[in-house]
C-alpha cells in the first residue's frame, strides 16, 4: 500500500485512452455519417423474408415481417434537417438530444464493461496476478461509479425517455428544450471529470465513498470523481424537473392521466425521485468533500461526528436511485408486452399506480443497506418490514405482465424476447431481495456476492435487458429502418443465457461466504468464479452483437413504414423518423393507450396468409410494401387512425 501508486496501471490508461479515442470521436463521426440518407437501394438483410412465398408459405414470421421497402425519397425529418456538427451540438430538439445522450451512454457502458471484464478475468484464479491489488480496487470502483451514475441512471430516462416522452403525450418538445440541452452538457462535464480522474490515477473507495475511508485514508482521486458525480447530479435534477413539467403541462387534448402510457407514468415516478433524491446526494458529496479537504468533522468520530451519518445520507439517495434505474425499464416492458401480445395491458391502472407506489415507498427503505452497520435493532426491524412492503408493487407488476399474455396473440419478436427475459430475470432479482430484507439472512450474506448477484439481476438482467428491448422496439421509429430480426432474436437469447450463467453462480458464492470487493479469495470458491467468468464472456458477445447490427442497420437496414409493429401509441402515429416538431397537427386522443384486440390480430393474420396462398406468384415483400404504403398514406397523426392494422 503505497500512496503514490498511480503508475502501476499504465495499461488501464491505455484502455481508457483507446476507448475515449475510438468511441468518443470516431463513433460520433461515423454514426453521424451513417444517419445521413443513403441514396443507393437498400440491400437485402440476410434472412428469409425475401423468398417467394411458395418456398415457405406457412410460417407466420415470413408473412408479418415488415416489408422490404422500395427506396423512396425520405421526407424531411429530425435527422436530415441538417448534418453539421454544430446543428447537433446546439440542437434543442429532444430527439437529437436523446441521440447525443445515447452516444455518451453507450461510451460509458463500454468503459464500465471493460472494467467488469478485467474484474472477471482477475477472479478466475484465487490469487489472480492479472492486476495489482490497488488496481483491482480501482477497477471495481470505476465499474460502479461509471455504471451507476453514467449509465444506469441516465440510460433510459435520458435516451428513450427524452426521445419518446413528448411524442407519447402529443407534444412538440419538452417543456424546456434549452434546459434539456444544458442537462446534456452538464452530464458530459460530469463524465469528463470522472474520466479525467480515472486516467490520472483512478479512485479506490468503492462507488459508495464510505467515510472515513474516503475522507481520511485513501490518497487517490476522490475529489475529482466526486466532482464528476456532483456535476452529473445537476443534470439528473434538471432532467427530472423538465419531465415533470412536461407531463403536467404539455399533454395534448384528450390525453388524460389515465390515458398516459405506462412508460410515461414510470418516467414521472422516476423524475420525482430524481428531483427529491439527487439533492441529498449532492449535499452528501459536498459534506464528504469538506471533510476530506478541511476536516470539518461531520463524519469524523474524533470530532464528534458519525461515520454512519454518511451511510444514512448516501443510501437515502442511493436506494431510491435503484428505482430510478428500474422503473423506466418496467415502463418499457409495459409498452412492449401489450403490443406483441396484441392485448390490452392487464389492469392498467394498477400497473401505473404500482410505479408511483414504488417511487414513494422507495424513499423509506434506505436503512436495509445498514443491517450490520450498528444501527439500532429496532431501526433494522422497521426497515426490514418496509422493504417487504416495497416488494409488493413490483410483484403486482410482474403478475400483471404475465396475465397480459393470457388470451393474447403472441409474436416472439426480438423486443418481446427481451421483455419476457426481463420478467424472468427481474423476478429472480426481486425475490432474492426478499432474502436480503430478511434480517438474519442478510446478516449472513450481507457484503457478499449474494448481494452482487441480487442487484445485477435487477440492474443488468432487468434494466439493461429492458433498455435493449426498448431500443429494438423503437429503433424503426428512431431511424426509420429495421434491424435484422433473426440476429436480434439470437442476441436476446445469448444475453439471457450469458447473463444467467454469469450471475446465478454468484448467489451460491455469496451464500458460501465469498465477500464482495475481494482481490484474493479462498481456493474453494474458484470453480464457481470460473463459471461466472465464462458466462461473462458469452454476455460480452451478446452485448457487442446488438451494438454492431444496430449501428449497421441505422444506415443499411430496410426502410420501414411509420408503424411497422402496428402499435397503438401516439409516437407511432407520426412519421418514422419523426419530423422535428413530431406531429404535423396536434393529435387528439379519444381512447386509452393499449387498444389492442387479439381476435382482430388473428383474423388479419389469417387473411394475410390466405392472400398469400391464393396468389403464390406475389413475393410477400411486394405485397406488404403495398399494404403498408396504403397505411402510411392514410395515417394522419390523429388517433382516429390508431389501429392501422385494420386498413
Amino acid at each position: 500500500m503505497s500512496k503514490d501508486s498511480k503508475p502501476e496501471i499504465p495499461f488501464l490508461k491505455w484502455i481508457g485512452a483507446c476507448l475515449a479515442a475510438v468511441f468518443g470521436v470516431q463513433a460520433l463521426r461515423r454514426i453521424l455519417r451513417a444517419l445521413s440518407p443513403s441514396q443507393e437501394t437498400t440491400p437485402l438483410p440476410a434472412q428469409g423474408a425475401a423468398l417467394p412465398i411458395s418456398a415457405r408459405p406457412e410460417k407466420a414470421e415470413d408473412v408479418l415481417m415488415p416489408p422490404l421497402s422500395t427506396p423512396v425519397e425520405e421526407p424531411e425529418n429530425y435527422l436530415n434537417t441538417s448534418y453539421s456538427l454544430k446543428s447537433w451540438l446546439l440542437t434543442t430538439d429532444h430527439k437529437r438530444i436523446a441521440i447525443l445522450y445515447a452516444f455518451m451512454i453507450t461510451f460509458f457502458f463500454f468503459v464500465g464493461s471493460a472494467a467488469a471484464a478485467l474484474i472477471r478475468l482477475q477472479l478466475t484464479t484465487p490469487q489472480g496476478h492479472l492486476v495489482q491489488q490497488q488496481t483491482y480496487n480501482k477497477l471495481f470502483t470505476m465499474h460502479g461509479v461509471i455504471m451507476v451514475w453514467f449509465f444506469l441512471i441516465p440510460a433510459l430516462p435520458n435516451t428513450l425517455g427524452n426521445f419518446l416522452l413528448p411524442m407519447m403525450i402529443g407534444a412538440r418538445d419538452l417543456a424546456f428544450p434549452k434546459l434539456n440541452l444544458f442537462s446534456w452538457y452538464l452530464f458530459v462535464a460530469g463524465g469528463l471529470f470522472t474520466l479525467f480522474a480515472i486516467l490520472t490515477g483512478g479512485v479506490d473507495t468503492g462507488w459508495t465513498f464510505y467515510t472515513p475511508l474516503s475522507t481520511h485514508y485513501v490518497h487517490t482521486k476522490v475529489m475529482l470523481t466526486a466532482a464528476g458525480v456532483f456535476v452529473s447530479g445537476f443534470s439528473s435534477i434538471l432532467t427530472g424537473l423538465n419531465f415533470i413539467v412536461t407531463i403536467h403541462r404539455l399533454r395534448c387534448k384528450g390525453m388524460t392521466w389515465f390515458r398516459l402510457p405506462v412508460f410515461v407514468w414510470t418516467l414521472y415516478a422516476t423524475s420525482l425521485i430524481l428531483v427529491l433524491g439527487t439533492p441529498v446526494l449532492t449535499i452528501t458529496l459536498i459534506l464528504m468533500g469538506l471533510e476530506r479537504l478541511f476536516g470539518i468533522g461531520v463524519f469524523d468520530p474524533a470530532l464528534g461526528g458519525d461515520p454512519l451519518l454518511f451511510q444514512h445520507l448516501f443510501w437515502f439517495y442511493s436506494h431510491p436511485a435503484v428505482y430510478i434505474m428500474i422503473l423506466p425499464g418496467m415502463g418499457v416492458v409495459s409498452e412492449i408486452i401489450p403490443c406483441f401480445a396484441r392485448k390490452k395491458l392487464f389492469s392498467y391502472k394498477m400497473v401505473a399506480l404500482a410505479g408511483m407506489g414504488i417511487a414513494i415507498f422507495g424513499f423509506l427503505v434506505w436503512g436495509h443497506h445498514m443491517f450490520v452497520s450498528g444501527q439500532s435493532m429496532y431501526a433494522d426491524m422497521t426497515f426490514s418490514l418496509l422493504s417487504y412492503l416495497v416488494a409488493i408493487p413490483s410483484a403486482i407488476k410482474v403478475f400483471n405482465w404475465t396475465a397480459t399474455l393470457y388470451k393474447g396473440s403472441i409474436w416472439l419478436s426480438a423486443p418481446m424476447l427481451y421483455a419476457l427475459g426481463f420478467i424472468g430475470l427481474f423476478t429472480i432479482g426481486g425475490l432474492s431481495g426478499l432474502f436480503l430484507a430478511s434480517l438474519p439472512v442478510d446478516v449472513a450474506v450481507h457484503d457478499t456476492y449474494f448481494v452482487i448477484a441480487h442487484f445485477h439481476f435487477i440492474m443488468v438482467g432487468g434494466m439493461v435487458t429492458a433498455y435493449l428491448g426498448g431500443l429494438h422496439f423503437w429503433w424503426p421509429k428512431i431511424t426509420g429502418r429495421m434491424y435484422p430480426e433473426k440476429l436480434a432474436q439470437l442476441s436476446a437469447l445469448l444475453i439471457f443465457f450469458g447473463f444467467t450463467l454469469t450471475f446465478l453462480p454468484q448467489f451460491l458464492l455469496g451464500r458460501l461466504g465469498m465477500n464482495r470487493r475481494y482481490y484474493h479469495y479462498a481456493p474453494e470458491f474458484q470453480m464457481l468464479n470460473v463459471l461466472s467468468t465464462a458466462g461473462a464472456s458469452i454476455l460480452a458477445v451478446g452485448y457487442l452483437s446488438p451494438f454492431s447490427y444496430l449501428l449497421w442497420s441505422a444506415k443499411y437496414g430496410r426502410r420501414v413504414s411509420n408503424n411497422p409493429w402496428g402499435a397503438t401509441g401516439l409516437e407511432w402515429q407520426t412519421a418514422s423518423p419523426p419530423p422535428t416538431f413530431n406531429f404535423s397537427a396536434t393529435p387528439l386522443v379519444t381512447q386509452g393507450p393499449y387498444e389492442y384486440n387479439p381476435e382482430d390480430a388473428e383474423r388479419e393474420l389469417k387473411r394475410d396468409l390466405a392472400i398469400l396462398q391464393s396468389d403464390a406468384s406475389v413475393p410477400n415483400g411486394a405485397r406488404f410494401a403495398e399494404r403498408h404504403q396504403e397505411a402510411q398514406d392514410t395515417a394522419a397523426p390523429t388517433t382516429e387512425a390508431q389501429d392501422e392494422q385494420k386498413h
Binding site: S347, M381, F399, G408, L412, V443, E602
Partner: protein
C-alpha cells in the same frame, strides 16, 4: 385455470424433491450449498434461508411456467380461444396482492424473532475485545492473551465480541457462524455466538476497508473446552484486560481526579457500572461500556449532574485497544458482569488456577522486562500518523 394449478402444484413438488435430492447429493459429494454450520444460530438461519428459497422457487417457477404455457398456447397463428380477453379481475388481483403481503408478514415475523435472538446476549458469555485496523484484527481475551487475525474459542460457550476500529469501518464476518458486524471507529458494537463444532473456520473482513481489504482476516479456531484451557495457559502470559486497564488508569493519572482522595473534583468511578446516573442536562444515562467509552473519548458530551466538564479527550493519546482495556477495568470496579461473576464462582475454578499460573508467569516476565521494556501497541502504532502504519507481516510479530 385448473390445469394451471395442477402444474404449479406438481412443479412445487418436483422442486421440493429436487431440492432435497440436491441437499443429500451435496452432502455425499462434498459440494456445498451452504457454509458449514458451526454455531447455534446457523441451523436456524439456514432453515429460514431454505424456506425463502423454496417459496421463491415456487413463485419464480410458477411465473416462468405460466409465461411458457401462455406463449405456447397463444402464439400467433395458433388456434385458441381468445374471446373476451380479460383486462381486469378484482378477485384475482386482490389475491395476488393479499397473498404476497401475508407471506411477507409471515417471513418478517420469523426473521425479526430470529434476529432478536441473535441480539439478545445470554448471561455468562465470555467477553473478547476485537479491534479492526488496516488490515488485521486484534483480539484480546479477558484473561489477557492477545491474538492477531486468529481467534481461539471454546466450543459450547457463548462468546461476546466487543468490536471497535482503529481507523476505517471494518466488518467481522465468520460465514460458518452466520454472524457479521461492522467495527466502527469511535464506537463499540457487539455480537455474540455459541460455537457448536470444533474446527477451523474462515474469518473475513466484509466491509471494504482499503487496499489490502481481502488480506484482512484469518481463522477462528473452535476448541474443546479442555484444549482451550490448555491453549490459554500455554500462550504468552499477559496482564488481563482489567489489569492492563488499571495500569493505564494509573499511567494517565486518571486517579488524580477520579480517585477518592483527589484534589480535583470529578465523579467517582467506583461501583457505578450498570447504574443509572443523572446528567447535567436533566436526562438519565445507564453506565455501560458505550457510555464509559464515550466519556473517555468525548468527555463533554454527557456530563454527570453536579460536575463541570474539565476533562480533556483521551481520543488521541490512547489506541482503541487501550480504550477498551480502560473500559474493561472500569467495568471490573463495580457492578460485575455476568462473565466476571462466573470467573469468581463455581465452575470457574480451573479458570482461577489459570489466572494464578498466568500471574506467576507474568511476574517472571516483568522481571525480564526490566532489562528490555516491552513494546506496547501504542508505541508500535501511533494512532496519529497513518503513513507510519507497518505492514501486516511485520505486525504478526507484535504482542
Amino acid at each position: 385455470m385448473k390445469s394451471g394449478w395442477k402444474a404449479v402444484v406438481s412443479l412445487g413438488t418436483a422442486s421440493l424433491a429436487l431440492f432435497a435430492a440436491a441437499q443429500v447429493r451435496a452432502q455425499e459429494s462434498g459440494f456445498r450449498w451452504q457454509p458449514e454450520q458451526a454455531s447455534k444460530i446457523a441451523p436456524r438461519v439456514d432453515l429460514l434461508f431454505d424456506f425463502l428459497l423454496v417459496v421463491s422457487g415456487l413463485i419464480a417457477g410458477g411465473i416462468c411456467l405460466l409465461i411458457v404455457i401462455f406463449v405456447f398456447k397463444y402464439r400467433r397463428g395458433n388456434p385458441a380461444d381468445r374471446s373476451n380477453p380479460p383486462t381486469k379481475n378484482w378477485k384475482l388481483e386482490s389475491a395476488w396482492i393479499a397473498i404476497p403481503i401475508l407471506l411477507s408478514l409471515f417471513t418478517f415475523v420469523w426473521s425479526a424473532r430470529l434476529f432478536y435472538d441473535e441480539y439478545a446476549e445470554p448471561a455468562g458469555s465470555i467477553n473478547i475485545n476485537v479491534v479492526g485496523q488496516q488490515w488485521f484484527w486484534e483480539m484480546q481475551h479477558p484473561e489477557g492473551p492477545r491474538e492477531m487475525d486468529e481467534l481461539h474459542i471454546p466450543v459450547g460457550k457463548p462468546i461476546k465480541l466487543t468490536l471497535s476500529s482503529q481507523d476505517v469501518i471494518h466488518d467481522f464476518y465468520v460465514p460458518a457462524f452466520r454472524v457479521k458486524q461492522d467495527a466502527l471507529p469511535g464506537r463499540l458494537t457487539t455480537i455474540w455466538f455459541t460455537a457448536t463444532q470444533p474446527g477451523r473456520y474462515h474469518l473475513f473482513c466484509a466491509q471494504y476497508c482499503g487496499t489490502q481489504h481481502s488480506n484482512m482476516g484469518g481463522w477462528v479456531y473452535v476448541m474443546e473446552p479442555g484444549d482451550f484451557e490448555h491453549w490459554l495457559t500455554h500462550t504468552k502470559p499477559q496482564p488481563s484486560l482489567a489489569e492492563a486497564g488499571e495500569k493505564l488508569f494509573v499511567q494517565f493519572s486518571c486517579a488524580g481526579c477520579h480517585g477518592s482522595h483527589a484534589a480535583v473534583r470529578a465523579p467517582s468511578l467506583d461501583g457505578i457500572y450498570g447504574k443509572t446516573v443523572p446528567l447535567a442536562d436533566g436526562s438519565m444515562v445507564r453506565v455501560d461500556d458505550r457510555y464509559l467509552y464515550d466519556s473517555i473519548v468525548l468527555p463533554g458530551a454527557q456530563v454527570v449532574a453536579g460536575y463541570q466538564n474539565i476533562m480533556p479527550t483521551y481520543k488521541n493519546s490512547l489506541t482503541q485497544a487501550q480504550l477498551m482495556e480502560l473500559v474493561a477495568y472500569l467495568r471490573s470496579l463495580g457492578g460485575q458482569t455476568a462473565h466476571e461473576k462466573s470467573l469468581d464462582t463455581g465452575d470457574a475454578t480451573t479458570r482461577q488456577s489459570i489466572r494464578e499460573q498466568q500471574q506467576r508467569a507474568l511476574e517472571t516476565q516483568q522481571e525480564d522486562q526490566e532489562m528490555q521494556p516491552r513494546q506496547t501497541p501504542s508505541d508500535a502504532m501511533p494512532s496519529g500518523d497513518k503513513n507510519l502504519r507497518p505492514l501486516p507481516q511485520e505486525r504478526k510479530s507484535l504482542p
